[in-house]
Structure formats: structure tokens, C-alpha cells
């Protein structure tokens, strides 16, 4: 891995970091249930958003790690590799962050403005995945 490009090392770092944050976040959500914390249990919307933040953090963390492992074989073009890494990392940060922020100080029937990060992150991920898909098609 020490010979890997810097952007791939960054993607691996982000993947582990996301898992390191999202897994304890899951435990925290369980604890909020166990302790019957009203701030969490009292809002179905907040529960849903924070659960989504936890799930997306985990899945996108794994995706970052998987990409880092597969990139050199399936996205051989360094320019494309770098581009996918950048879009993937951005999306992987924005989506769980947006879900979490959407559940902080959320309104009665809607997420707070933090949720706007989610579609931005989603677009980043779509770009990354599409770019990776096309790069894989031309891989030797």
C-alpha cells in the first residue's frame, strides 16, 4: 500500500475513519434507545435520519475500502482513478453528515437545512460510480 498513490491512501484512510465513526454511532443509537432518551425517541424523523447517517457511514466506508483495493486493477487510468477517489470521498463524507445534520434541530415535519448536504453527496457518488464504471469497461 505504501506504493499506492496518495489519493488511494486517502480513500483507505477515509474508509476506516468512516467505519470507526459509524459503528460507534450505531452503538450510540442503541444506547439512546436503551436509555429512552426523549430527544431521540420523541422524533420519528430524527430517528430515521440518524439511522440513515449510521447506515450510510458504514456502507460508504466499506465502499471506500473496496474501491481502494480494486482501483489499481479496474480503474488503471491514473487521472480517472484520482477523479473517482475525489468524488467518492466527497460523497462519502457529505451523505452521512447530511443525514446526521438533517436530524439536528429538525423541524416538525421536515429535516433541518443540513439535509441539503445529502443530495450534493449523492451527486458526488453518482459521478464517482459512473466514472468508475466507464473506466472499468476500458480496463485491460
Amino acid at each position: 500500500m505504501s506504493d499506492s498513490p496518495k489519493h488511494l491512501r486517502g480513500t483507505v484512510f477515509l474508509g476506516w475513519l468512516l467505519l470507526a465513526l459509524a459503528i460507534p454511532a450505531g452503538l450510540t443509537l442503541e444506547a439512546l434507545h436503551a436509555l429512552k432518551v426523549e430527544v431521540y425517541l420523541g422524533s420519528a424523523l430524527r430517528r430515521e435520519l440518524w439511522t440513515l447517517a449510521h447506515a450510510h457511514g458504514n456502507l460508504l466506508g466499506i465502499l471506500c475500502l473496496v474501491y481502494a483495493v480494486l482501483a489499481e486493477r479496474w480503474v488503471p487510468d491514473p487521472k480517472a482513478q484520482r477523479s473517482v477517489s475525489r468524488w467518492l470521498r466527497t460523497g462519502a463524507v457529505l451523505m452521512p453528515l447530511g443525514f446526521f445534520a438533517g436530524g439536528v434541530l429538525n423541524f416538525e415535519g421536515d429535516p433541518s437545512f443540513g439535509v441539503l448536504l445529502v443530495p450534493v453527496g449523492g451527486v458526488c457518488l453518482v459521478v464517482a460510480l459512473t466514472r468508475a464504471a466507464f473506466a472499468a469497461r476500458s480496463a485491460p
Binding site: 420523541g42 422524533s43 420519528a44 424523523l45 423541524f107 416538525e108 415535519g109 421536515d110 437545512f113
Partner: protein, 625 residues
């Protein structure tokens, strides 16, 4: 290769699209609700399910309340009564309650003789008891008619309506078979429109057999729009995400929907008062309009612009005494559904800022009283009267841990009758033995000091709280003031007094030792012979409580005794219990020191008891349950 992978992509992409399309075009629960026979979407009502889409938490906290299940279509999920083919007998006639698949039926005595089968179409109530209504097709419309039997949820048994409402024994099975369309519909549903069909005349409206209706409601049960007002304008405005977030940025000031805790106190109490405050249309002539199009009040309005809340002297035509029996002599409501009147007579409301929302929440955890956390305790009062809490004994003159130091026991005593229970008065005031006893109103002191007389209460209040208090001069019934208030009220009081004291007599937090309750027990046993079944039932429950506290060996007799049972058997047991009282009580109960109701060796003074019973008010009380 390419076409195959393209196919995979298309199928993969099409699956979620197909799911979304089917959800959008498929079953719509809101539309389904709106299409049911009794439901309308007029007058800007949208229904609770529409509210649920954006307010799931509020919907969930409402949905678990008894407001939401107040009126329901009869089905296996809503019917709690046991329709198992059993036969029940009341007042010499029998009925059979049974099921046919998902249909709930009653085989009943018919009005002109013979039998008839009634099918339950609607249920009303889901907490204490559940009433049943049959659908009757009339010349033009439909009438939902109350059936004579109800299921008492707490007692898990069938009861006859004549034994549940505050009235004397009556063998007429038709007595309480009212129409849902012109009674219950108003307060047990959202957006009621009784739909009295104008084909008939007002004269026909008075003739029960001819009444026809095309009744509709926005929601069966008491739903969001009962308290928040019709929601169509609010829903339409906030369909757009930009409008919603725009308003979030500006302020939460949507005037299209009402938040009862964010409006002035007069309008706030009116939200609850539209049902928890018996009223007549204003002007009264709008009665007929109500029967057609329903009440005009909407949450957020001033209640007094639409109705006249009933007071003791509210006239109906030339008669200003119609409602007097629903209030104690000092104007305090003594029946439930008059909480609005009680609250608006209270200094906490008149001089302070108290509203219903001060203690109650429709979206809290307590579904039984819908009371906020802590508001069943002294905190309810101390949230404003904090100084009193610093030294509560200085205020109450009672031991701090005793019931005499509980704010609600003195300032909101249980002197209100409704649904076979005594409830707390919502006129929050200061007890006054003289005022209370002279107006026939049970006094908070003697509701707890069950062995004490009104004279004692007046003297004690004067001693503890000052010269402004005095002895009462007389009781409305004429019973001696020297007798314990509980005993005199149970024997000589009017029906509500008797019920209130029958309940109070069974309280175990009273400062009377179990062995000193001889007179109370013999009077309660006498009350088993009361002409009012609901009073007998309450006396039975109190006797059971006292028997558990200090057994005399009558537990089995009490458990078997049925307040709505066959009259000869019922009276035989009651007389036997009275006859054996002295024998069973001797050695366990102490001879009262200064009583006249019990002679030597605990023998009941039947002559005096009879003379007190003769003082009972014979006036009937119509409470419109």
C-alpha cells in the same frame, strides 16, 4: 454482450421505478378513508391520515389516546365487548350477545313485545365502557340508534344503560336508546355534520320515530382538526417544499392552523370547551341549524361567539331551571363535560394564565387523563404557587406527607359525577365548610375526615385558617349538622352527593382507623339498597375496599352481589348484611363515641336511618350522557 448488460441495467433501474409508480398510483389510504359512508371532506377538513404524513410523531401520540378511538366502525379490532353467545338479564328481561363471523349482534326484547336482532354498526367509547349503535334505514336517511347494553371495560361485564347513567331503577329498555346522529355525533367525532334531512318538519324532529339523517363526519373519533382546526389551507400551503423551508426561516406563524397553546387563554380554553363545556347554540334558535349542518365553532374562534356555555340559570325557552341540577348550589359544575365552566370560574384562570394546557397534553404519555408529567401531584399548583411549596405545612396545617397536604385533594376534590365515577372538580377554589354544606356541595374536609360533621369542619377551618370561616347553618336536605357529613350525605343526600360520598367512603387514605369505620360501613351497607344502581355499585366497591382493609367476613357476599341483579336476591343479601352487621362487627370495630346511627353493640339505629333516607331528594337529574 452489450445488449445483455443493457438489459441488466434496465431491469435493475426499472425495479425501484416500478415500486415508486405502484405506490403513487396504487392504494391511497387517505382517499380510502374519505370514501367511507360516514365521512365527508367538506368545510376544509382533510382527516388525520393527511396530517400523519408530515406529523408522524404527533399522529402516533394522538392515535394511542382514547380520543382517537372514541367512535369506531364495529369490527373485530374495535369491539371490546365479549359477544360470546351469553345471555344477560336485566330488569326481568334477557338479551343475548353473539357474533356471526365479523358481525356483532344482540338479540333483544322488542319494543312492542317479541324479540329482535340488532347488528352493531358503530362503537362509542374505548376506555371505561363501550356503547353500541345499530344502523336503522329510515324513509330517506339513516339513524344510528344506541343499543340498551354496554360493555364495561374495567369491570369486564355487560351492563344495562339504565344502571350506568345516574338514574333510578327503570325496567324500560328503551329509555336511553338515543340517536347518535343528533347527540353523540357532536363531541365524539371531528367535523360533525348531523345532516338532519329537511324533508321532515321540525315537528318531526321532535318525534323520534320519524327522524332521518344523512350524517357525516370528517373523522370518526376526536382527531387533529378538532383542536387544530380544519387543515386544508395549511396542507395546501405546505405541499411545496420551498414554502415550508421559507416559513421555517421566517417564523413559525402559520395562522392557517391553530396551536391551542399559542393562542390567548380565552380562545385556548375554548378549544377544549367546545366539548368539555356543555353548551347550547347561540342564539338558541340555531339549534335546528346545528341539527343540519353541525356546530359552527372552529378551534381558534372565541367559543362565546358561537355558543352559550350552560350555567345553572341558562334558559331554554322560558324555563331557566333546566340545567340547575347539573351544578352544585354555588354554581360549581357537578357533572363531567362541564370542565370549561369550572376552569373559567377559577381564580387561576381569571387572575392568572392557567389554561387546559397548563396541566394537560394531548400528545403526552398519559393516555388516561392526558395529564402532563407531574401534574397529578402538587407540581400542578406549585408551578405557579412556588412559595407555598417551601413550607407546605404552614399552608395546609396538615402533615406534609398526608393527603391533607396534597393540593388537589382540597382545591380540586372529587365532587363531579360522570361515567360511573367521581372526578376532580375543575373549579379550582378554596374549601369552605359553611359555603359547601349550605349549597349541598360535598366539602373537601369531610370527604377525607369521613367521621366528622360539618360543624366540626366549620370550627376547624375557623381555628386553622381564621375568622372568615364559620359553621354551616343548615343542609339543603335538612339532615342534622351534627352527624358525620359522609353518613348524612349517603343517607339523606341527593343522587350526586350520595355517589360522591359512596366513592369517598372507600378511600383508604382517610384519617380514620379501620376499626373506627363502623358507622361508615353500616351506612354503606344501607346504600346497597339505594334506588340508583350506579350509587349501589359505587357503595359496593367501597365496601369491598373496606372489607380488604379490615375483614368482617362479608367479602364473598359482596363479590357475588350484583348492583343490577334481580331485585329480590339483591335486597335479600343487602338486608342480611345489615342484619348481621352487629354480630360480625363486634370485637373488630369500635363503638363510635358520639354517633347516633349506631346503638349499643353496633346495632344500627334503623329508625333514624329511615328518617334520613326519607330526606333524599327525589328530583331526577338529566345529565345527557
Amino acid at each position: 454482450m452489450l445488449p445483455r448488460s443493457l438489459g441488466v441495467v434496465v431491469v435493475t433501474a426499472a425495479a425501484p421505478v416500478a415500486i415508486v409508480v405502484s405506490l403513487v398510483l396504487g392504494f391511497d389510504v387517505v382517499e380510502h378513508e374519505a370514501s367511507r359512508a360516514l365521512v365527508h371532506r367538506d368545510a376544509d377538513f382533510v382527516g388525520a391520515t393527511t396530517c400523519q404524513r408530515c406529523h408522524p410523531d404527533q399522529h402516533a401520540t394522538w392515535d394511542r389516546t382514547f380520543h382517537s378511538s372514541m367512535t369506531q366502525y364495529a369490527d373485530p379490532d374495535s369491539v371490546v365487548g365479549v359477544f360470546d353467545g351469553r345471555s344477560v338479564t336485566f330488569y326481568g328481561k334477557s338479551a343475548c350477545v353473539f357474533r356471526d363471523g365479523e358481525r356483532f349482534l344482540m338479540d333483544l326484547p322488542a319494543k312492542g313485545g317479541g324479540r329482535r336482532t340488532a347488528e352493531v354498526a358503530l362503537t362509542v367509547g374505548s376506555r371505561r365502557y363501550q356503547q353500541y349503535f345499530e344502523r336503522i334505514e329510515r324513509r330517506e336517511g339513516v339513524v344510528m340508534r344506541r343499543l340498551p347494553l354496554l360493555w364495561h371495560i374495567e369491570a369486564k361485564r355487560w351492563l344495562h344503560l339504565n344502571g350506568v347513567f345516574l338514574g333510578s331503577d327503570d325496567a324500560n329498555w328503551e329509555k336511553h336508546t338515543q340517536n347518535w346522529n343528533q347527540n353523540c355525533i357532536f363531541c365524539h367525532n371531528t367535523g360533525p355534520r348531523p345532516g338532519y334531512l329537511t324533508g321532515g318538519s321540525e315537528r318531526e324532529l321532535l318525534a323520534s320515530a320519524e327522524r332521518t339523517f344523512d350524517s357525516k363526519v370528517a373523522v370518526l373519533g376526536i382527531a387533529c382538526e378538532s383542536c387544530h382546526g380544519p387543515g386544508r389551507a395549511h396542507v395546501e400551503r405546505y405541499q411545496g417544499i420551498a414554502t415550508r423551508y421559507g416559513d421555517y426561516l421566517v417564523a413559525d406563524n402559520d395562522t392557517r392552523i391553530v396551536h391551542p397553546n399559542k393562542i390567548d387563554k380565552e380562545r385556548s380554553v375554548g378549544v377544549c370547551g367546545q366539548c368539555h363545556g356543555q353548551r347550547v347554540p347561540k342564539p338558541l334558535q340555531r339549534y335546528w341549524e346545528w341539527r343540519r349542518t353541525g356546530p359552527t365553532f372552529r378551534s381558534g374562534d372565541h367559543l362565546s361567539d358561537h355558543v352559550t356555555p350552560v350555567r345553572p340559570d341558562t334558559p331554554v325557552g322560558d324555563d331557566s331551571g333546566v340545567f340547575a341540577a347539573r351544578f352544585w348550589g354555588d354554581g360549581t359544575p357537578r357533572l363531567t363535560a362541564y370542565e370549561y365552566q369550572g376552569v373559567t370560574m377559577s381564580a387561576c384562570y381569571l387572575k392568572g394564565s392557567m389554561t387546559c394546557g397548563t396541566c394537560h397534553s394531548m400528545h403526552g404519555d398519559d393516555v388516561h387523563g392526558q395529564v402532563k408529567p407531574g401534574m397529578r401531584t402538587d407540581r400542578a399548583c406549585l408551578q405557579c404557587h412556588a412559595k407555598i411549596g417551601n413550607d407546605i405545612q404552614a399552608h395546609t396545617k396538615h402533615a406534609p406527607a398526608s393527603s391533607g397536604s396534597r393540593c388537589l385533594e382540597c382545591h380540586m376534590p372529587r365532587i363531579v359525577y360522570g361515567i360511573v365515577e367521581a372526578h376532580r372538580s375543575h373549579r379550582i377554589d378554596v374549601p369552605d365548610a359553611a359555603r359547601d354544606v349550605e349549597h349541598g356541595r360535598p366539602n373537601a374536609c369531610t370527604l377525607c375526615h369521613l367521621d366528622k360533621s360539618p360543624i366540626w369542619a366549620g370550627d376547624k377551618m375557623r381555628e386553622l385558617w381564621g375568622e372568615s370561616y364559620r359553621r354551616p347553618a343548615k343542609r339543603p336536605s335538612g339532615a342534622p349538622l351534627t352527624l358525620p357529613d359522609a353518613s348524612a350525605s349517603l343517607l339523606a343526600g341527593d343522587p350526586v352527593q350520595r355517589f360522591v360520598f359512596a366513592r369517598s367512603a372507600g378511600r383508604l387514605d382517610a384519617p380514620v382507623a379501620p376499626a373506627d369505620k363502623a358507622e361508615l360501613r353500616v351506612v354503606l351497607q344501607t346504600t346497597l339498597l339505594d334506588a340508583y344502581p350506579s350509587i349501589r355499585w359505587r357503595a359496593q366497591k367501597s365496601l369491598v375496599a373496606l372489607e380488604r382493609e379490615l375483614p368482617l367476613g362479608i367479602g364473598q357476599d359482596l363479590a357475588r352481589w350484583d348492583h343490577e341483579g334481580e331485585i329480590v336476591a339483591r335486597k335479600e343479601v343487602a338486608h342480611r348484611l345489615l342484619g348481621s352487621f352487629a354480630r360480625l362487627g363486634l370485637g373488630k370495630l369500635r363503638q363510635p363515641a358520639r354517633t347516633t346511627l349506631l346503638g349499643p353493640e353496633l346495632r344500627p339505629n334503623l329508625k333514624l336511618m329511615r328518617s334520613l333516607l326519607n330526606l333524599q331528594s327525589k328530583s331526577a337529574i338529566s345529565i345527557g350522557e
